[in-house]
Subunit: 92 residues, 2 copies
């Protein structure tokens, strides 16, 4: 099963061993960072899944996703990543 990086994954960096998708989101103020994190929490509930890791400070959030099936990225992962990107855009 192959997985082509699409426009939806613009800004996301693909890493291997183990396979992950990584993206850093930067914000001007903590309030924006906080709003993004809160919206991300709601999105995770909606998708019933969580990023492998979220690392944040005052004005940045680094998100690392693993494949939903733990092995290979598929369209559902792409959708999840794209929705996360959209949340960051909303907050700017």
């Amino acid at each position: 099963m192959s997985f082509d990086m699409s426009d939806e994954l613009q800004g996301w960096e693909r890493r291997d061993k183990p396979p992950t998708l990584y993206r850093r989101f930067s914000f001007e103020r903590y309030a924006q960072t906080r709003a993004f994190l809160d919206a991300l929490s709601v999105l995770c509930d909606e998708f019933k899944r969580h990023p492998q890791n979220i690392s944040f400070g005052t004005t940045y959030v680094n998100v690392t996703l693993e494949p939903a099936d733990d092995k290979v990225f598929a369209s559902q992962d792409e959708t999840f990543a794209a929705r996360i990107s959209a949340l960051a855009e909303q907050g700017k």
Copy 2:
């Protein structure tokens, strides 16, 4: 100015270059992790300060604190760290 590690900082690991305090909190379920993160967010508002970094996954939260004055840890940092530890205890 010196800084003695007290009982309040039990569980926290002191790191240098730059000076930070680090502690990993583990939880059994995501709901507990989420509750801790939410309580931590409220605490940060109360103290008007934020950890240098918070890194979390489904069942863990790693917290890294820097000194409030950016140079040397003092009693206010110790209080902040102890309050964070207390939040984790409440959630268990």
